[in-house]
Symmetry: C2
DNA sequence: ATTAGCACTCGCTGAACAAGAGTGCTAACA
DNA sequence: TGTTAGCACTCTTGTTCAGCGAGTGCTAAT
């Protein structure tokens, strides 16, 4: 059976309607609402075909049709229109994103907030993956007689610090020397290169009292650990209660339980990290995770320059307003990228 | 009518049972399960009295009784037994809390996680309120030719930093001088004392080029702002789905919606901050907030030395296992306090 | 003062039933 | 030959109603 143009138009009409109403769509509804110039009987026949081809399904004999995952897939890839953002939407995104946030994590969180607010679904995001960023500065600053702060700065402007106990007798110039040596050894390396072994190497090379060097190295390694340590943001979880597919308490519970597991979210977002900069859509059973096999997940990545450093996503019922989600995400992603470039540029002045 | 000992025993039995089963309790159930040596008819009479006195309520004529808020109040204040933590519970708390966390925020979050896990309700906590803490160190560290990191350390060991642009021509010794002057002026003050005005004062007093001083002061004020900026942690939200009182989807939604508002949570926890170190229980309508008038909120504070710096709480249905919640919270609070003292002691060595 | 007994109340459950929406099929039509 | 009108059939949903069970309040006996 061939999927001709008329079938496509009907399928699109059905999916558009179903996304809107969440009710199985009958042939009469389509004949009435959409100007296809066809009677309900004709549409009925076409719908039977579409079902046979696997694009539609019937909850029970005497009900209308609902889209299958395969139907949604076709819809997302070929059928759906693009939904421009409204002026208000654009405004509200800009307003939320253009506050000057200098902490990368805060920027991403804010993006997640606005993403869930615009789409009305649940949004999530992971903080920048900084493995690839480059260590710029290592400094040791004396705070009190026996305390020093180890400070680490990356090319992306991430600053981390760690308070360490140092020997009472350490002189300021010792600290300066340690700083200099560490800078020389470690600066220019990416975070992932600076693993424990590298740090150990430094430990052996330098001729400085271990009593001073060891705590400082501990501090560096703690800082590195903190940079690498990802955060997951989750926003708009209660939005799901607005959708009838989660009217069932067990469904809602299952969904929220998955989202409660930060590491599950992390994997979810991370698995699409290597993809190109397009927007990725996983529909229903296309998802690996059993618990969300009746949800759709729309993800994309954001970047500094050319390097992908993190990703964000929207999760909701398969009956999702794909056009709106995709254009919102697109717009917000661009905003993030712009802000990231600004922040990094501002801090590192690579120009 | 006098609330004699027998009435109390019956009331306690009813509430214990109701907390356990969530079903209205009939006279026969009490007569059977608890060894009170009384017939169901007698208990029936007593129950009628207890209802008249306002300790019990009847969902409808032919149902058993459920406790009223007033009943729970009496129960919490006078009737209930104490529930010792089991060895496993103690173990799991210790295990979770005794990892060496040096960031105060992380410690509190971890406490919140374990609190919700042990109690099976939803827990929340606010990060330390650091208004009262004292500024110990201000330092300005050059990072690149035109960038400097402003670092602020408090007596509680909180470290904040902020990257600022400074004039290219600024010499290292200028930065040291600024550091010294700022330290002299600001150290020893509490965070809340160092408001914009104080900073402005410093600006006028010092004879250093404004080009350098202004960004540094901005940095200090940004750091101060960050210290003051509270975080709210929320854990175990999906636990509520285990309780029949939230079986209704709208109830669950309403509850989760309240918890989604960070500033509402903040107020909720903050309003009990001035209280002494006891554990505070708000039952049902005792809560100010309409949306949680059928919930109970158990809160307490934690502290460094004698100063209360934050609070944590558990929220759940009024039918809450008060004895368990209270003893868990007590134990965890003590663990927090101990850890806090350790962290602060380690960093500031006040001894 | 306590208890046994009994009539009464009320919510819950399941069956029966009607209404409504939608389908598939057949036959008629352009 | 593709399209459409008509109709019988299916299945869900909502409603009504009777019967059951849990529990009460009251009265009379202990």
């Amino acid at each position: 059976m061939f999927l001709d143009d008329r079938k496509r138009r009907i399928l699109r009409a059905i999916i558009d309607d179903y996304i809107d109403t969440a009710e199985p769509i009958g042939s009469r509804t389509i004949a009435r609402k959409h100007e296809l110039g066809l009677s309900s009987a004709t549409i009925r026949n076409e719908m039977a075909d579409l079902e046979e081809m696997g694009y539609l399904a019937q909850p029970h004999t005497s009900a209308g049709r609902i889209p299958s995952d395969k139907g949604y897939r076709l819809y997302v890839d070929n059928l759906m229109g693009i939904r421009e953002l409204t002026l208000e939407e654009i405004e509200s995104i800009k307003e939320a994103m253009e506050v000057r946030i200098n902490e990368l994590g805060q920027l991403i969180r804010q993006a997640s907030v606005i993403l869930s607010r615009i789409t009305k679904y649940t949004s999530m995001a992971i903080t920048p993956q900084m493995k690839k960023s480059i260590l710029r500065t290592v400094q040791v600053v004396p705070i009190e007689s026996s305390k020093a702060l180890v400070i680490v700065v990356t090319n992306a402007g991430i600053v981390r610090n760690c308070m360490m106990k140092i020997p009472e007798k350490a002189e300021p110039q010792d600290l300066v020397r340690v700083s200099n040596i560490l800078s020389e050894k470690l600066c220019g390396c990416t975070i992932e290169q600076i693993n424990q072994q590298t740090i150990k190497d430094v430990e052996h090379e330098i001729g400085i009292s271990k009593e001073l060097l060891l705590p400082v190295l501990d501090g560096v390694s703690e800082c590195i650990g903190q940079i690498d340590n990802p955060e997951v943001y989750l926003e708009g979880t209660t939005n799901i209660f607005n959708y009838p597919e989660f009217r069932d308490i067990m469904k809602a519970k299952g969904f929220l339980n998955v989202l409660d597991e930060k590491d599950v979210l992390y994997k979810l977002l991370n698995s699409h990290l290597e993809n190109d900069s397009r927007i990725n859509v996983q529909i229903g059973t296309e998802n690996e995770l059993d618990e969300i096999k009746d949800c759709s997940l729309v993800t994309t990545t954001y970047r500094i320059g050319d390097i992908v450093i993190g990703s964000m996503g929207v999760i909701g019922p398969t009956r999702m307003e794909y056009p709106k989600v995709i254009s919102s995400m697109n717009y917000i992603r661009n905003q993030i990228n712009r802000q990231l470039d600004r922040i990094v540029g501002q801090i590192t002045d690579d120009s």
